[in-house]
């Protein structure tokens, strides 16, 4: 199968830091794979996602997405990636509605000098309806609860109909019911649209069934990759991961 994401010997260091946040990462992800990246805090999971989409520039190694160098074609590549950042909260006085924020996710794909059309608004509202937040479309986004804002960010990532989904702790603020429902919805869309999906979590208990691969990170390195059957229960050997004891 065709590799859609490929990292070769990649290290990324934050400005002013000596120690790389991720070190010598080698990772290949094929089209339509559903991959979980698991690890404790400061394992380098967010850095890995932001190195893949080119928001962070590695100090060594090569990152290719769709066979193209992220450093050269970053903006074009990112227009095909839906990204949900970790703990993204909007100030309560921000002058943007939830619909504004969802539509913004599509701007890169719509292209410069082109206008937002009714079909884009219809698509944004359709995704908001799937996530159960359509009625919040015209509310100021900063006035929404943490869970509702997280759904808005997921809708923003999905509305652009991306080829890749990068989700960083996307379910952390959701209520119990949504924590059940939304991951299933994302998996369903992943299958229907043949997406390639990477989900970061520090909580082994949040991993859904049917996942293709689990990548375990610690201290900036990939320390293990698990594929095959009974994936989630195989995490028990990594007893130091949060909530590993609860996995079945």
């Amino acid at each position: 199968m065709h590799e859609i994401i490929k990292l070769e010997n990649v290290s990324t260091t934050y400005e002013g830091e000596k120690r790389p946040a991720i070190k010598n990462i080698n990772l290949s992800i094929k089209k339509n794979e559903f991959v979980y990246i698991v690890g404790p805090n400061a394992a380098g999971k967010t850095t890995l996602l932001e190195t893949i989409n080119g928001l962070l520039t590695p100090i060594q190694g090569k990152v290719q997405v769709f066979g193209q160098d992220v450093r050269k074609d970053g903006a074009k590549i990112r227009s095909e990636i839906g990204y949900v950042p970790q703990d993204f909260m909007v100030d309560q006085n921000e002058p943007y509605t939830a619909l504004d924020v969802v539509l913004m996710g599509m701007y890169g794909k719509i292209g410069i000098l082109k206008r937002v059309e009714d079909k884009h608004k219809a698509k944004a509202l359709e995704v908001m309806e799937l996530l159960g937040i359509k009625e919040l479309a015209n509310r100021p986004v900063g006035k929404l609860s943490g869970g509702q804002q997280q759904k808005v960010m997921i809708a923003r990532a999905l509305a652009k109909e991306p080829k890749i989904l990068l989700l960083d702790e996307p379910f952390s603020n959701l209520d119990v019911e949504s924590k059940e429902k939304i991951p299933k919805l994302i998996y369903q869309l992943h299958e229907e649209r043949e997406l390639t999906t990477l989900v970061v979590t520090h909580d082994a208990n949040q991993i859904i069934q049917n996942v293709n691969r689990i990548v375990i990170m610690n201290e900036g390195k990939i320390i293990a990759e698990k594929t095959g059957k009974k994936l989630i229960s195989s995490l028990k050997e990594f007893w130091w991961l949060p909530h590993t004891e609860a996995v079945e």
């Binding site: 400005e15 989409n53 928001l55 903006a75 074009k76 590549i77 990112r78 227009s79 095909e80 990636i81 990204y83 950042p85 993204f88 006085n93 921000e94 002058p95 943007y96 509605t97 504004d100 924020v101 913004m104 996710g105 599509m106 701007y107 890169g108 794909k109 719509i110 410069i112 000098l113 206008r115 937002v116 100021p140 923003r156 652009k160």
Partner: protein, 274 residues
Amino acid sequence: MIWFESLILQRTLIGSILAGLLMSIIGVFVVKMKISAIGYCMSHGAFAGAALGVALAINPLLTAFLFASFTAFLIGPFAEKAKLHIDIITGILFPLNMALAFIFIALSPEIGLKADVGSILWGSVLAMTNSDIVYLVSLCSVTIALIFLFWKELFAIMFNRKMAEADGINTKPLVYFIVFLTGVVITLSLKLVGGLLIFALLFNPASTALQFSYSIRKTMVLAPVIGIASCLSGLFFSLIFDLPIGSCIALVSTLVFAFSVIVSPKRRKGGREL
């Protein structure tokens, strides 16, 4: 004589409307992109440039434009290349520009230039020329056209630059464009408001409009209305009480902001925004 005074007043009126409109539109971007320190630095860069023009007895508009552009270059591409944090580069450039401005003013020949020095320090109702009005009208048309063309990208950057970048928008040229535009707009409004106080016209109307609206589009309409009203009221008080126009505009716009904070629906339970 009456005809002459009426012509000056007409120019000042038109200049006030255009400066209020432009400064407050750019101000919304400066406030929402959280680059207020840049706006502050640019205004003092233009001020230093204008002071150099007065000292050398050449067109202060030209030297103000050159200084503002150079300041924009140092804050934008240079600081990025040199990996200098925005707080550091603006913290260095602000006192430097002020120091240069005061040295240039100190070196200015005294005879016949006092009015010029006064106008770049705190603005003047007599300073606007026909050329200034032509420049302001042209800049106004270009600015509105460019903002219209790149509205959706600028809208996304104002919300969050990192997320705009993550969604495939090349934010760097657009941010540099706003920084450069800020410099040009400040340069052309400098004569009216003065270099020491021009930041008030950049910052106050946008901040006031944001007290009333949860929509950035409405803010983009409301801010220029407040900016123009502040400029015209400032002009009125300046003429009535024979005070510097820049000070009057800064005072009026600050009072309007203070009033907006008191009556803002965002601070009241159940208050409805515009």
